[in-house]
């Protein structure tokens, strides 16, 4: 079924001023009215999503009621830290630095992950760097099976297919990073009587690109309904610094640089946005293919990947399941 034969990025164009007003009204009503909190706290990654959220919260509540956290660890990039600081400064909010390396060390985040990598690449040792990577959906019909890439101090790289046991160990160990950051956000939220802001965009929220009880946890998620390209439109309208708007989205979870499409999504965000929009609105793969300069088969594979991720991550969105409704359990 073709609903929009003229598929183009214009389908995702929004009135940034109007959307900003809607979201700031939502933040104010939720924080002041429904939650009765004194302000909000959010982690600043130096990416466009958290920077836009900081700017929206500052507009909604006043910058003095917004606290930004910079939470570096020994493997996060210096650029993340500097851009996070810039994000806070541009929104005019107070920022606090919480280095989470010690917590991660104590929890065994690095050692557990490294042990899993060594089960695949025995040479992997101190001084090496690593990341995990998926094959491109666009380039082949290959299943999206993770490969671990480890780089020795001399730059030589080793690659290995990730076994199920190593995959689960690596992911659960690195998830300490997102969960520790969220724990720190709730510490400051409790201390200040603030609410916690979650900063996923629609792509991340829909496709389950978050850690349960990590970055997936929050009291309100003001931009979860916006496609990533729409977040960029808001960023421009809100005056987010160009260096932040120009930075390619990154996971900044592993010690080697890694893009989001290398780790999770099938395509760069702007193309992924249009595919997700098309999937949500019943637009034919052929029409999307023409708009993106890809072929129909490639778009069909992206559509299958979207559906597959929705199935695989559905449980992440579920509330804790109860046998029966409980009075006082909230809505």
């Amino acid at each position: 079924m073709t609903l929009a034969p003229n598929v183009s990025p214009d389908l995702l164009r929004v009135n940034a001023e109007q959307v900003t007003e809607e979201i700031t009204a939502f933040i104010k009503a939720t924080v002041d009215g429904r939650m009765r909190k004194r302000g909000v706290v959010l982690g600043l990654s130096g990416g466009v999503d958290s920077t836009v959220c900081a700017a929206l919260c500052a507009r909604a509540l006043g910058p003095e009621r917004v606290l930004g956290l910079l939470m570096p660890e020994r493997e996060s990039s210096d650029e993340t830290f500097e851009l996070g600081r810039l994000a806070g400064d541009s929104a005019g909010i107070t920022t606090i630095v919480e280095d989470i390396t010690g917590v991660l060390d104590a929890a065994g985040c690095y050692s557990r992950r490294d042990e899993a990598i060594r089960s695949l690449i025995p040479e992997y040792a101190a001084g090496w760097r690593c990341k995990v990577s998926l094959p491109s959906v666009v380039e082949s019909d290959q299943y999206r099976i993770f490969t671990v890439i480890a780089q020795a101090p001399d730059g030589a790289q080793r690659r290995a297919r990730v076994s199920p046991a190593a995959y689960h160990e690596m992911i659960s160990a690195t998830n300490f990073k997102q969960r520790t950051r969220k724990m720190m956000e709730y510490y400051h939220a409790d201390r200040c009587n603030y609410a916690v802001i979650g900063t996923p965009n629609r792509l991340e929220y829909d496709q389950g690109f978050f850690v349960k009880n990590g970055d997936g946890s929050a009291d309100l998620k003001p931009i979860a309904h916006l496609y990533k390209t729409q977040v960029y439109q808001l960023a421009e309208y809100l005056g987010v610094p160009e260096t932040i708007r120009m930075r390619p989205p990154t996971t900044d979870t592993y010690s080697l640089p890694q893009t989001q499409e290398e780790f999770y999504f099938s395509l760069p965000y702007d193309k992924m946005d249009l595919c997700l929009y098309a999937r949500n609105n019943g637009i034919d793969a052929a029409d999307v293919a023409q708009a993106l300069g890809l072929n129909e088969q490639q778009i069909e594979r992206v559509f299958r990947d979207i559906d597959s991720k929705r199935r695989a991550t559905r449980y992440l969105h579920l509330k804790p399941q109860l046998v029966a409704e409980v009075i006082g359990g909230g809505d």
Partner: protein, 89 residues
Amino acid sequence: MTTVEQEVRTFLAENFSLGKDISHLSSSQSLTERGFIDSVGIVEVLTFLETRYEIQISDDETVPENIDTIDNIVRFIGVKRGAPEAATQ
């Protein structure tokens, strides 16, 4: 039913049935499209096939036409072991 098919069915039942009765799973039915196996599960299948049949499966062979159905797996194993007739018995 070939020995390979029987062994693959047993492996799937023991590792992925999750309460489902897979005896009615058609040999031509996709293992991935209905969420029966995800991408991590595919690696478990690959590991099983490599170990049980003493073969090496390269990354570019990890495509649906080789792995997505029981029929495809049987045919693929036959080819890898140099006995494609195994898939048609």
